[in-house]
Subunit: 504 residues, 2 copies
């Protein structure tokens, strides 16, 4: 353009966290705003000698910036890999071409596979504003997605991310569509399956809105923040691992879409299936067992909805080369006793080590899902999975495998114990009839989970337990008195988190 | 809640302009974020003793805020009518109920009128995030809107805003769906119609993305920023006015929806019709003439699309008690010579005063639309409107009326003239065959319009004009040398703004 220097400014990291949304801050009186006609909420292309992103403009006054500076939010700074005082140029972005396919979908034209790939490439590159993401998700939900479209979406998500490969014909994986607190089955299942000689290189997520993700809980037992080379060494040696997947960009669109879907409260099977299966394909899996908890406060609320989701997962799985087995499970209440990273890890150790007081529900469900995994992988005959999984757990092989995996990941740790522990008692006599899973999770978070690994909630009752007035229902764990107080105040305001019915 | 003081902070105006999006800035380590579990992009209810809004959280570090402070963007500050250091409390907002109707529409259920009203009330109160607005507009476009739904949308828009009433049975209005630079017909038409004794209390908008709105151009002739009482006195005395509608909240959802529609590039007749007609009903009009320019770079691109829009405007108008007459006009090129507030006002004066060199196209089109207005209002017989309008223009009554209206609005002014004027010449011999209206508007904005009222573009040619190489096509007007340079550089990069074909 010949006069590029006219539209350049020096970059400053503002220190403002807008989560995933790239924001650029400029003074209204700066020469670039005036020349280009930018105003608040303009979409602006920001280009350095290294990278180029599209960001939304916030106009600042007062003393935020010098005349020759432009500020970036944390997300914009990261995407641009910027350095302080680096020069950048600012221009009107070209139209994002793939949005015309989104407009087409709005007006009834199904997506072609190439169009979906283009949409996902643009999303991964940060070229979609939040309102564009919302329009894309709304159009998919409103128009419905055919099997071909879900397959195209899944393949597109695989292609825009990185992919792992393993020198094995058979690589298994396990996934839970989620919605229940606790339910920390993965480390137990990996230990059983790897001990049976089946390769299971598991990457897990950290908590987004829950009190703990699998990676958070596992981190209280061993390092999980492994690079790919280290992960490969662990899997080579032990046949399995439980590491954090965040260092590997398996499906870069996924978090972005999930955030907007969640904000819109727009659950769609198409997005869920593409999200889950694309990550499994990208992780190099050949066989996947998918746990679908069904319950009124779980993600899937009715058995009918569970069946529909299961069929779609299996059909799309077939198209993208994955053997998928789905299992509908009881999603009425938390599984295990602990809610929070360290408390969940304690349950995992208790079950794997065959402790006498290990939570029976977590043990049973882990055996069930491990059995499905072994059968799917052909490691035992159909119908013999439960006996096989149970034997591996009972004779100590699973416990030795968990210890070996933790050692290989960098050394086994003992989960921390919280400094403050306060019991919360039943207000009346009766029988426990239900849990508000959402509020239980909230209480654990107010107590400090997952940032404070030791914090959370430890349940002493399950549905069907009869209690006397004053009998402890659960114990709050917190590392500071302040957080303990927040959680206690919240519980005082919501006494019906554990429902108790009078029994005559 | 007993511990409200625990979730309160003192408000600070950050000095960050996020256009219409309310943003609240908080420190990650402040006790409210920790207690409530807020994180970046959380939606937060902010409540003072006076008002309550929902805002999006940006988390700040470093030295932006004291420990006991929360910051607000300009939009949040305005919506909350906040004062410095005022105390506010922060909580999780309740679910926005009307979003369930939007989700219903996504999955194929038509909106009921009461649901549309609830949606619009929530939008007007700032309870919809941008992604919610996008989902609403996308769902309307994807599902299509029935006549009943468009009527419900229009009535809802009327009900959430203020309404004007006039002590007249017959109140006329005029609207242009837009897309052409120049085309400053309104002040001329108001002068003719008011001189004929028909009441026309015109509220107009300022430019949003164009080089001039009617209010911007009129402001170079008289004050337009009138309160309602003053506007009433002007209309009482002169039978008409041309004032800025911004001081009166006739349709508070409108700007918000238009911003998101434009960003999505999602034109929908339903939204356009509801937007236009709701403002006319709210302004107290009984009869409306609507100008629909049709052309490849205008808003409406084909005669077929123009006809469909015209029929919908008329049918919905009937349902909401408005007599609507639509006129399809030629939208190939700018109307008049000036583009920019003062240059357009100069054309208005020239036509109204019957100057010999007044732009003929602007005169003709003003007479045509004034004629339609007079006929619709019953001020003359059908077929006699043109003669009547022309007579009022020719004999000086329109010019006297324009002067009287300007005087009543606060005193007539002379439009300013720019300090810098540079002619832009044809590069070759030939015939003018077309204009890139969008880029012409851009050049006028780079020259400083509409903020600098004198700035803009003055055209010397029209389609069909034959020119020699070096003959001036138009003149750039700018108040500063810098702005002149920006516009010149832009023109150098885009030489084909005026298309010239060789003639043999």
């Amino acid at each position: 353009m010949g006069h590029a220097s006219d539209s350049s400014l020096m970059l400053k990291r503002m220190g403002i966290d807008t989560y995933q949304e790239p924001i650029v801050y400029m003074r209204a009186d700066c020469h670039v705003c005036r020349a280009e006609g930018f105003s608040a909420q303009s979409r602006i292309r920001v280009t350095t000698d290294r990278a180029s992103i599209i960001a939304t403009l916030n106009v600042v006054r007062d003393g935020f910036l010098e005349a020759q500076q432009a500020g970036l939010s944390d997300a914009a700074w990261r995407l641009l890999e910027a350095t302080p005082d680096q020069l950048a140029t600012f221009s009107h972005p070209r139209t994002v071409e793939s949005l015309s396919a989104v407009r087409g979908k709005i007006f009834g034209h199904p997506f072609q596979e190439a169009q979906l790939l283009a949409v996902l490439q643009d999303i991964a590159a940060g070229r979609y504003a939040d309102i564009d993401l919302s329009a894309f998700l709304t159009a998919c939900a409103a128009g419905g997605m055919s099997l071909d479209e879900v397959v195209g979406l899944t393949r597109g998500m695989v292609r825009v991310g990185e992919c792992l490969t393993w020198n094995r014909a058979l690589v298994v994986d396990k996934h839970c569509v989620g919605g229940l607190p606790g339910n920390r089955i993965t480390p137990i299942l990996v230990s059983i399956v790897a001990a049976a000689g089946v390769c299971i290189p598991k990457t897990s997520s950290r908590a987004i809105t829950s009190p703990a993700g699998t990676a958070d809980a596992m981190e209280t037992l061993a390092p999980v923040d492994l690079d790919l080379a280290t992960m490969r060494r662990v899997v080579e040696r032990e046949g399995g691992c439980v590491v954090w997947g965040g260092a590997i960009r398996l499906s870069p669109c996924d978090d972005v879409l999930i955030r907007v879907e969640r904000a819109l409260d727009l659950d769609s099977d198409a997005q869920l299936v593409a999200s889950v299966l694309s990550k499994k394909v990208a992780a190099g899996s050949s066989h996947v067992v998918i746990d679908i908890p069904v319950g009124p406060t779980a993600k899937v609320r009715t058995p009918q909805a569970g069946e529909m989701l299961a069929r779609l997962l299996e059909r799309v799985g077939r198209e993208v080369g994955l053997q998928v087995r789905t299992v509908l499970t009881d999603g009425l209440q938390p599984v295990g006793r602990g809610i929070g990273p360290a408390l969940e890890a304690r349950d995992v150790v208790a079950v794997t080590r065959n402790d006498r007081d290990a939570p029976e529900d977590l043990r049973t469900r882990s055996i069930l899902l491990a059995a499905e995994t072994l059968e799917l992988a052909g490691a035992c005959a159909i119908g013999e999975g439960v006996a096989r999984a149970q034997a591996i757990l009972d004779d100590g092989r699973a416990w030795r495998k968990l210890q070996a995996i933790c050692d290989a990941q960098g050394g086994m740790r003992t989960p921390p114990v919280a400094a403050h522990q306060v019991e919360v008692a039943a207000r009346r006599r009766g029988m426990v009839t239900g849990f508000d899973n959402r509020r239980l999770a909230r209480a654990a978070k107010l107590a400090g989970a997952p940032a404070d690994a030791a914090a959370g909630v430890d349940l002493h009752v399950r549905i069907g337990t009869t209690v006397d007035a004053g009998q402890p229902l659960f114990t709050l764990h917190a590392d500071t008195a302040g957080e303990l107080t927040y959680a206690q105040e919240y519980l005082a305001a919501h006494p019906e988190i554990v429902a108790i019915a009078e029994v005559s």
